[in-house]
Amino acid sequence: MPKGRYLAEFELYVMSALSLLGEEAYGVTIRQEIEKRAGRRVAIGAVYATLSRLADKGYVAFRVSDPRPVQGGRARKHARLTPSGERALRASTAMLRKMIPALSSGDPRGGRQ
């Protein structure tokens, strides 16, 4: 992978969440998914900021849903991984998997890039 294409830790979380959530991914679900799985507090602003950065890199695309036909129904900004985003996610997780056995006593979440 060329320099600059590595994923930062939080970017990896967000992309994993997108991968898990599929069609259901938007601000609320992404935030809750990461909180639930990683067990740490996640700020909604961090999610949005990371999504825009990933969109600039071409890993994420947005789709604005039509307002749902219920009381208070609103438009949501759904995010999904682009094909190149999926490739980047696969490459990053593969690399982590290769690195983690070497860090026997290290942080199981892997090092920062």
Binding site: G27, Q32, A43, I44, Y48, A75
Partner: protein, 872 residues
């Protein structure tokens, strides 16, 4: 339940616009859920935590993103290359317009650069001396003395140097003409006689040889001379052998001891070729006396001393001298110091500022013209821009494209302008009628490189702006579907009209200034100078150096005048110390009754027949008789201005001057002797024999062109003195023409620039109507279809040119009136705010604007509704 208001507001402010509503709705959704499950307090706390934790990533993310955008815009060189390619494609597709833009800009840039180079070299660049700002000219003055008298005497300067504490050194000089007889044909050379330490004042080092030493200034020392660089080059071809050679000046041999460096200007100021030491001469009483003022004094201030301090210091010295030598120094109670630079460039500064202002005006007109041209072209290209936006070009990309195009056009123009600006500089220098105080070095294209770059960048920014406004809000959908509004927005229309109005207004200012200058030239040529200049030849000639007595000198001039009268075709000949436009006598101040300061009076001494030869009228009384001219005492003639100063009826009155009481026997007409625009100066005419050895000028009136008699004249003068050089030979008419040269130059310059301005403004008015008609074809089609008469549609179209022109005319008139005080200082016999000038200019410009709009208005009136509507 509402989330905490302040937190919400913070979050709203921190979030980028495109995410704002989504983010707030997302967090609100969770907040509602949490309120229901955990209670309001817990939900609010959660909301606040979320908000505070979000601020850093949101603000940081926005900042990084903006930084990346800007960096990609500025730093990607491949992007700039792509922009330039894009711009080049634009130029290829619009060759006519690009050519017009580049030619107008090139000429405007070149003229501006030339003005910059000249103004920089003459006015702005520091003088070529070490710490040049410390050099000042010094005048002794006093409340009762008139300005403009050469006020320093030699003993005064020496005392100033001794007693003042604020000067490193102080010195003085006086110009003097010498007869050079050992280098080919005898001729006159201009020299300056300098007091000791003049070189130290200017900080000069000899280029070759040495400068003067204290021993050179003692009476009886061997005469030495220093050559200026220019004279060394022209006379000795830069040969170092010049040192040790001799120059025979006024029949004395001067050894050349040194060469001055090339400073690009005369040091000290005033044309000369040689420096000689100033040693007071026998028989020249004023060179010894303290009371006379005949030297130009200059000094160098000590470091850290201000002009005011030096002024106060010298004033103390002047007061001491006034107390010590009351006979000679009583009126000289003050010192007046002027920075050398002010003294030098002060006289030409207004003219060069006028040049700069006029050219800057033309540049602005040119830019406004091209600005509206490019804005129109951008408007015509909205569809192209819409396509670009539709396929993903953001506003930054469009801005880059526009900037690239204008930068390319301006860059090409500026390069061409830098290349041709030296031509403009040379043209200006060859047309400029007067000598400039400093040389403008021909540094070619390099001198203009930096200003050209700045100019290109500044102008391209200016030009890009209106285009960017034009494309700022393009409705992609409207343009792509062909449904766009056919007319421009109100803001765009006003912007374009303002550009045309600006051109008209500035043209108005240039035209009124030009007309005022032309009327000044006319007024000056109509002025009555008080003498008849036609057929008159003037020249100066000095008595031979061997002729040391006053009588011998008079015999010399009488001999020449007699010899000249014998030439066939010569009607009259005479000589005088002060001849109009040629030479001047000395001056003194008198105090009219009841006045608080002196009036300067010039003294003239003339051979018999002088007033007849020049056609100067006798107004009352009589002239001095030939007998009085040769031997008379106590009789004098005054001119009309002096008679007025003395209070009218003067014949028979007694007049004290120079320890003598003069009886006034006649009044002659006043003569404008220095500049035709100055009123005649008071003049006192005393018997000729008192001229002593002063050099005189000859006037000769002929029935034929006097220049054709020149060989004969020369022969007759050489019959009297074989080595006498004839200097400053000219027709008096030519002298007068030269005197008005600067006025004619100004008039021609402004007329040419006003002409260019009018053409540009006319083009501007033409293009705005053409453009408006093109954009509103459909509207006019509908109007005609609905029954509006073609004539009325034509008038509507014409208004596009006439309304901005009218506004421009009003603005221009106001600007002309506001600047009138400045223009007035260049004028003679005409007011800068003369109603006839203003009204004439207004009518002319309005007619031009109308005429420029007519072709398009005709087209508008002839629109066929069917075709116009079908064209869409």
């Amino acid at each position: 339940v509402r989330p905490p208001r302040l937190a919400e507001r913070l979050l709203r402010a921190a979030t980028p616009a495109e995410d704002r509503e989504f983010l707030l709705a997302d967090i609100a959704e969770e907040f509602q859920r949490l309120t229901a499950s955990a209670g309001r307090g817990a939900a609010a706390r959660w909301y606040w935590r979320q908000t505070l934790a979000s601020l850093t990533p949101l603000v940081g993310g926005r900042a990084t993103r903006r930084f990346r955008q800007v960096r990609s815009l500025r730093l990607s060189s491949s992007g700039i290359a792509a922009d330039l390619m894009q711009a080049a494609r634009f130029v290829r597709r619009h060759p006519g317009m690009s050519f017009a833009v580049v030619s107008i800009l090139t000429i405007a840039f070149a003229a501006t650069l030339a003005a910059y180079v000249i103004i920089d070299a003459v006015l702005l660049a520091p003088l070529p001396f070490p710490s040049a700002d410390r050099i000042v000219t010094v005048r002794a003055t006093g409340p009762t003395l008139s300005r403009g008298v050469r006020s320093s005497s030699r003993p005064d300067v020496e005392d100033w140097r001794e007693r003042s504490r604020t000067f490193t050194t102080l010195s003085a000089y006086t110009p003097e003409e010498y007869r050079l007889t050992n280098r080919g044909e005898p001729r006159s050379v201009d020299a300056v006689r300098v007091m000791a330490e003049l070189d130290r004042v200017f900080g000069l080092k000899p280029l070759v040889g040495r400068l003067f030493e204290p021993g050179d200034f003692t009476n009886g020392s061997a005469p030495v001379a220093i050559l200026t660089y220019g004279f060394w080059v022209s006379e000795f071809g830069k040969s170092p052998d010049a040192i040790g050679r001799t120059l025979r000046l006024d029949d004395r041999d001067y050894e050349i001891v040194g060469i001055l460096p090339d400073a690009g200007m005369h040091v000290p100021p005033g044309p000369h070729q040689i420096w000689v030491p100033l040693i007071p001469r026998e028989g020249a009483f004023w060179e010894h006396s303290r009371g006379t003022g005949w030297l130009f004094a200059v000094g160098r201030l000590r470091d850290g001393v201000t002009i005011e301090q030096a002024d106060a210091d010298l004033t103390v010295v002047a007061r001491q001298l006034a107390a010590q030598y009351p006979d000679s120094n009583r009126p000289k109670t003050e010192a007046e110091l002027t920075p050398l630079r002010t003294e030098l460039v002060g006289p030409v500064a207004p003219m060069l500022q006028l040049l700069g202002a006029a050219l800057a005006t033309v540049l602005i007109i040119g830019c406004a013209n091209i600005g509206s041209l490019l804005a129109a072209s951008a408007a015509a290209r909205t569809r192209e821009f819409a396509v670009r936006s539709a396929i993903g070009a953001g506003s930054l990309q469009l801005a880059r494209q526009i900037t690239g195009e204008t930068l390319l056009l301006c860059g090409v123009s500026a390069t061409a302008a830098a290349a041709i600006s030296p031509l403009f500089v040379r043209a200006f220098l060859s047309l400029y009628p007067n000598p400039l105080p400093r040389a403008v070095q021909d540094e070619g294209i390099l001198a203009a490189a930096v200003p050209a770059t700045i100019l290109a960048l500044a102008v391209s920014c200016l030009l890009a702006l209106p285009q960017m406004l034009q494309v700022r809000r393009i409705s992609i959908r409207g343009e792509m579907s062909g449904m766009s509004r056919a007319t421009a927005s109100r803001g765009q229309r006003i912007g374009r009209a303002a550009l045309v109005g600006l051109q008209v207004a500035l043209s108005f200012v240039l035209i009124t200034a030009g007309v005022s200058f032309i009327r000044t030239v006319r007024a000056l040529s109509d002025v009555d100078n008080g003498y008849q200049s036609d057929g008159v030849l003037v020249f100066t000639v000095a008595p031979p150096p061997t002729q040391t007595s006053a009588d011998g000198s008079l015999n010399f001039y009488e001999g020449i005048v007699e010899a000249l009268r014998g030439i066939p075709g010569v009607r009259a000949a005479a000589s005088a110390v002060g001849v109009p436009m040629t030479s001047a006598g000395w001056r003194f101040g008198i105090r009219p009754a009841g006045a608080s300061s002196d009036v300067l009076v010039s003294v003239n001494l003339t051979s018999p027949g002088y007033f007849d030869a020049l056609g100067i009228h006798l107004l009352g009384g009589r002239l001095l008789t030939p007998e009085e001219q040769r031997r008379g005492a106590g009789v004098a003639v005054v001119n009309e201005p002096l008679a007025r100063v003395l209070g009218g009826q003067v014949i028979g009155r007694k007049f004290p001057y120079s320890n003598t009481t003069w009886e006034i026997v006649g009044v002659i007409d006043g003569v404008r002797s220095v500049r035709p625009r100055d009123d005649p100066m008071p003049e006192l005419i005393i018997p000729w024999h008192m001229a002593g050895r002063r050099p005189q000028a000859i006037v000769l009136r002929a029935q034929v062109d006097p220049i054709s008699l020149l060989p004969e004249i020369r022969a007759r003068v050489h019959g009297v003195d074989p080595t006498a050089p004839l200097n400053d030979v000219a027709r008096l008419d030519d002298r007068l023409r030269e005197a008005a040269g600067l006025d004619r130059f100004r008039a021609a310059m402004l007329a040419a620039l006003a002409g260019i301005a009018v053409i540009l403004a006319g083009l501007g008015a033409y293009s705005i109507t053409a453009f408006s008609v093109a954009r509103r074809t459909r509207e006019y089609g509908i109007r005609i279809a609905l029954g509006e008469r073609p004539r009325s549609v034509g008038r509507r179209a014409l208004a596009a040119a006439c309304i901005p022109a009218a506004a421009g005319i009003v603005t221009g008139a106001v600007a002309s009136l506001a600047g009138a005080w400045w223009i007035q200082s260049f004028l003679y016999g005409v007011s800068a705010s003369a109603p006839s000038t203003l009204i004439g200019t207004a009518v002319l410009l309005f007619i031009i604007a109308m005429a420029a709009g007519v072709p398009s208005a005709r087209r508008a009136a002839a629109i066929d509704p069917v075709l116009a509507l079908g064209a869409e």
